[in-house]
């Protein structure tokens, strides 16, 4: 039996595992990434795309904290679009189609090439712990199914959908973590043996079609943005050769096929126990739940630049193969389509988030961290975000530093972790802008500024990138100040009856449709305008190009346009903000508080919120319960 020792062991080479392992290694820890196949690192088993509403914000945040996802999609994307581009900048999000083969190949290279990171091929069979007899066990490593022991002071589990994975296509069931891969059967048992409660969740994937069998002439094409925008502030060269996606629609015939034989769906037939995602529901779900709609939108997305496989976004299903064929061929343009791989639903074990602290360390076992779908999230982006946070926190705990505590008003990362720690996840958790009450501030365009201090503290970015971000912040601050002082003339087309003559640059930017460039081109600015131009030029020289300058200017514009609304919201929420500072002792006995409903007592006991604000976000804990809790806490504090 061989033994090797690491600071940190990451189990799983998916999107969470990659960010966890890279963060650990880049922060100087000796790290092992244990995966069943070292050529499969960074695979995209579902949608060949990165980003999307709320998710694009996560990718941007990960990027500023040294993550890999943004850079990789910039290098391997084949179509880039900003979603919600007709709505305000706070709810716009970047999304890109990936060449999933290239994406994976690049992730394999990056991880293999990372210093301090060793890739170990093998299936993890068991978690090894110490001190089980004397109290809370402490992690000491993992055992592979080959019998090899890998020792480590911290372990991060990023096993995705592999825990007791079970795939369904109609009545056919196959054991596996995804198509063509085995599941982890024993690891679930190991977790259960350590006192974890496991919960079944479900997710699904649509059929893949043969490109040449689709009649694209009858489908509407959807090109990428021109010019495209990259995710990563570190991407310097960016001129991707973009491909088109296509739009198709289901129709009443499609819906009839589905409703007639609904009982053949494992979901409705009762074979699947796990709960599925509400936000990317299966087509059978959609037909049942939105019975009044006579069509649903489908996106045909190529899985790679030269791939013959087309992913049918919107048609996730677990119906039997013969029905899938009928459904696909009922759609205009797909009459002759051939299915290369059938859609399937997959059920897997997950760990309820009540079993983790907000550091992502598990409650039952100390030193064991969890990230990604095992915690009940859906999506590569949520997984990557959690992987990064788990990696950072594992390193910090080795260094004796406190865990990161990113607030909800600082980043989507904070929203994600807080939601996971407080919400009962009964269906896979997907990020949305509506989950972030501070979304007017948590924008893509100001990500660099929002997370700069944290990035500097973690010291996880290369020095040159840190310098660029510092210069960027300086630029934003000085130009915002100059815009307050500069007085420019309002051009006629923007002029409103009540305003004429000169206004400040800030006021100017509040006119709908105005931009910072129109300020720069307005007459009358004098010295201040010259100074702005100077600052801009010197920054783009430092940043090595105009793109980062453009982005910084967009941030300044949006800061100003949203400033009033954010101030108003903060005023309105003022009386709520301090609830997050009212701490709740961790040893409080909720069962002693008779006025709490029994359900609330149980929920509060399992979640053990750290503040009154967090307690209020727990599902099922109501205003009245908070009032009781607040009075009780005051009594504990002796406040009467």
């Amino acid at each position: 039996m061989k033994t090797s020792f690491f600071d940190i062991i990451v189990v799983g080479g998916g999107h969470a595992g990659i960010e966890a392992a890279l963060a650990c290694a880049r922060m100087g820890a000796r790290c092992a990434l244990v995966t069943h196949d070292d050529r499969e690192i960074g695979r995209m088993p579902c949608n060949p795309a990165i980003g999307g509403l709320g998710k694009g914000q996560l990718v941007r945040e990960i990027d500023v904290l040294g993550g890999e996802m943004g850079r990789t999609i910039d290098g391997t994307g084949i179509q880039f679009r900003v979603l919600n581009s007709t709505k305000g900048p706070a709810v716009q999000s970047p999304r890109a189609q990936a060449d999933k083969f290239e994406y994976q190949a690049r992730m394999v290279d990056v991880t293999h090439g990372q210093e301090q990171l060793e890739i170990i091929q093998g299936d993890t069979a068991e978690l090894l712990v110490e001190g089980k007899e004397t109290g809370r066990p402490r992690i000491s490593g993992v055992m592979l199914d080959s019998g090899t022991t890998v020792s480590g002071a911290r372990v991060i589990l990023c096993t995705g959908t592999f825990l007791k994975g079970l795939m369904h296509v109609g009545e056919n069931r196959t054991i596996g973590g995804r198509e063509g891969a085995d599941s982890s059967e024993t690891l679930s048992g190991s977790l259960a043996g350590l006192g974890f409660t496991l919960k079944r969740l479900k997710t699904g994937t649509p059929p893949r079609l043969l490109r040449s069998s689709i009649d694209f002439s009858r489908l509407k094409s959807q090109p990428g943005d021109d010019p495209p925008r990259p995710f990563s502030f570190r991407t310097r060269e960016f001129s991707p050769d973009q491909v088109e996606c296509h739009l198709a629609y289901t129709n009443t015939t499609t819906h009839q096929i589905i409703s007639k034989d609904l009982s053949r769906s494992p979901l409705f037939g009762g074979t699947i126990d796990g709960k599925g995602p509400r936000y990317c529901p299966s087509i059978e779900d959609k037909v049942v739940r939105f019975a009044d709609k006579d069509q649903h939108l489908l996106f045909l997305e190529p899985e790679g630049r030269d791939s013959e496989e087309i992913y049918v976004n919107g048609l996730s299903t677990s119906l039997p193969a013969d029905m899938q064929k009928k459904i696909v061929q009922s759609v205009e343009g797909l009459e002759q389509a051939r299915i290369l791989r059938f859609g399937y639903a997959i059920e897997y074990d997950s760990v309820p988030s009540s079993e983790i602290f907000d550091s992502l360390e598990s409650k039952p076992v100390s030193g064991l961290y969890l990230a990604g779908q095992i915690l009940g999230t859906s999506g590569y982006e949520e997984a990557a975000a959690l992987g990064l946070i788990a990696g950072v926190n594992a390193v910090r705990s080795l260094d004796g530093k406190p865990a990161l505590r990113i607030r909800r008003d600082e980043a989507y990362l904070g929203v994600l972790v807080d939601d996971l720690a407080t919400k009962e996840i009964s269906e896979p958790y997907r990020m949305f802008t509506s989950r972030a009450e501070h979304r007017l501030h948590l924008r893509c365009d100001n990500t660099e500024n929002r997370l700069l201090d944290l990035a500097l503290e973690l010291d996880i970015l290369p020095g040159v990138d840190q310098k660029i971000l510092i210069a960027r912040r300086h630029l934003v601050e000085s130009i915002t100040g100059l815009l307050d002082r500069v007085r420019v003339e309002v051009p006629e087309k923007l002029e409103r009856s009540e305003r004429s003559g000169r206004v400040s640059g800030v006021e100017f930017l509040r006119f709908p449709g105005s931009s910072i460039y129109s300020v720069l081109n307005s007459p009358g600015g004098g010295e201040a305008l010259k100074k702005i131009s100077f600052e801009c030029n010197s920054f783009s020289t430092k940043a090595g190009g105009a793109r980062l300058l453009d982005e910084a200017l967009v941030q300044i514009e949006n800061d100003i346009k949203y400033r009033g609304y954010i101030a108003k919201q903060n005023r309105l929420l003022h009386n709520r903000a301090h609830l997050d500072n009212l701490e709740i002792p961790t040893d409080i006995d909720y069962f002693e508080i008779k006025a709490l409903s029994f359900e609330s007592r149980e929920k509060l006991s399992t979640v053990r919120p750290q503040t009154l604000g967090q307690a209020g976000r727990i599902d099922g804990v109501r205003a009245g319960d908070l009032a009781v809790l607040s009075v009780y806490l005051k009594k504990l504090g002796g406040g009467g």
């Binding site: 939108l297 802008t433 509506s434 609304y565 008779k594 205003a623 009467g640």
Partner: protein, 473 residues
């Protein structure tokens, strides 16, 4: 953790012949046994029968074992009412002693209980315990606080209604459509490529305005709460020496205002609270209204003007004898300015009173003038009738019956929501902020609404509720 057993005087200080002392906590029976001798309270018995009052002797507690010879002195003969957990106000074992000696004796009873091991209760502590033991919800506690502070019967009735949820129902009706709108706005942001579900601005505006209107009308009915709670403010206006102070004394039936023949004596506003029928009235005697006056008096007149602006009802006094001479008697300019809204309409009801009716034989006046004599007491009941008639228009009974009497906190929050909704509508019309802005602001506004309806927790509510309780409640 078990809380200490507490004791306090539970009936208002200095009123009535019977005082109630309340002991509550897990040692309430033990404490009671040490100070009370009566059926059910001997050491041999485990527990007295709950909710059954017994007669007995209340005395100072015997000394501790080391000092067993300490003399036991009788304090009073009392009724003891044991209420066993959880069937008491606090949810704990409680014993209430009804002493007939009034406050002084009650204080001795409280001291005896403290000597026997109870701790003096803090303000609102009984209610806080009731709340923590789930005997009372927060809005019920708030209504209880209102009830304690309710002076008039109508106001009390309204507070009771509130406990039963009158206000809540109305708020839910305002809240629900707004929350629906909010979830639709958010939904439209979550499906980027589906333009069908974008919500037209006109529809958003319609919903916002409808909610704003409902809140405004609620505020209108609900502001009757101020009249119920704080009383109806009536200002006595008229020239110096017309008999204002005398009339107030006649109404109050006691000598509170200064009556003097020298015009302009009453420089400061003198206020008198009077209970009449189901309402509380606050009468304000003022300095006279006249143009030529000294500096001190001018100050009083300025104050009078302010009082007139804030008055709920104005009594305009004129001497009956001068009234009978000239039929048409316009309001003095200064008074008219206070009650007219510019277009000649009165915004505050004015009752015209003819004073010193004993000095004229048969006055020939129009019917709207109420004739009174403070000297003979003639016409005073007519004046009360006129006041009651005017007050009927305030719809206090209706507001009380609907249970939508608003307290200061409600008025403030609802005012804020209405204000914010108006501003948001204006902003949408002016600059068309995106749905992401509308959704964000609307969600913050509904949070405030939720604080009134109880859907959203608010620290201020807690403060507001528990700070209003006094010791013994």
């Amino acid at each position: 953790m078990s809380e200490p057993t507490i004791v306090a005087l539970a009936s208002p200080v200095g009123t009535g012949g019977v005082a109630v002392v309340r002991v509550s906590g897990c040692r309430a029976l033990e404490v009671s046994r040490r100070v009370f001798q009566g059926p059910g309270f001997s050491k041999a018995q485990a527990k007295p029968e709950s909710h059954r009052a017994v007669y007995g002797i209340l005395h100072s507690p015997p000394g501790l074992i080391s000092n067993e010879n300490k003399e036991v002195t009788t304090i009073d003969q009392v009724l003891a009412l044991p209420m066993l957990a959880p069937h008491s106000y606090t949810g704990e074992d409680t014993v209430e002693f009804f002493c007939h000696g009034g406050t002084v004796v009650a204080r001795e009873v409280v001291e005896a209980c403290i000597e026997a091991g109870a701790a003096p209760a803090g303000a609102g502590e009984f209610t806080r315990r009731a709340f923590l033991n789930g005997k009372l919800s927060l809005d019920q506690a708030e209504a209880v606080a209102d009830l304690i502070h309710a002076e008039s019967r109508l106001s009390a009735r309204a507070a009771v209604r509130q406990v039963l949820g009158g206000l809540k129902n109305q708020l839910v009706e305002i809240e629900r459509p707004l929350l629906d709108l909010l979830s639709r706005i958010e939904g439209s942001l979550e499906f980027a490529d589906d333009d069908e579900i974008a919500i037209p601005e006109t529809e958003i505006l319609k919903s916002l305005r409808a909610a704003d209107r409902k809140i405004s009308s609620l505020l209108q009915i609900g502001s009757a709460g101020r009249l119920l709670r704080d009383g109806i403010h009536i200002v006595l206006a008229g020239a110096p020496n017309v008999g204002k102070s005398s009339l107030l004394n006649a109404l109050a039936d006691e000598d509170r205002a200064i009556v003097d023949k020298q015009p302009g004596t009453t420089r400061d506003v003198v206020s008198v609270r009077l209970h009449h029928e189901e309402n509380v009235f606050v009468f304000h005697d003022t300095a006279g209204l006249r143009q030529e006056a000294g500096p001190v008096e001018r100050k009083g007149i300025a104050r009078t003007q302010k009082m007139l602006l804030e008055a709920d009802l104005i009594l305009h006094l004129e001497e009956a004898k001068s009234l009978s001479k000239r039929q048409e008697q316009p309001l003095p300019i200064s008074l008219a300015a206070s009650v007219e809204n510019g277009s000649g309409e009165f915004t505050t009801i004015v009752i015209r009173v003819g004073t010193k009716s004993d000095l004229v034989a048969t006055p020939d006046l129009d019917e709207s003038v109420v004739l009174t004599s403070s000297l003979s007491g003639q016409g005073i009941s007519d004046l009360w009738r006129a006041i009651d008639e005017a007050v009927a228009g305030f719809q206090l009974k209706e507001a009380a019956a609907q249970g939508v009497v608003l307290n200061q906190r409600h008025l403030h929050k609802l005012g804020l929501c209405s204000n914010e909704l108006t501003q948001l509508s204006a902003e949408i019309q002016k600059t068309s902020p995106g749905p992401e802005v509308i959704g964000t602001l609307l969600s913050s506004i509904t949070a405030h609404l939720g604080e009134v309806s109880g859907r959203v927790f608010s620290e201020q509510l807690l403060e507001a509720v528990f700070s209003r309780f006094c010791v013994g409640k």
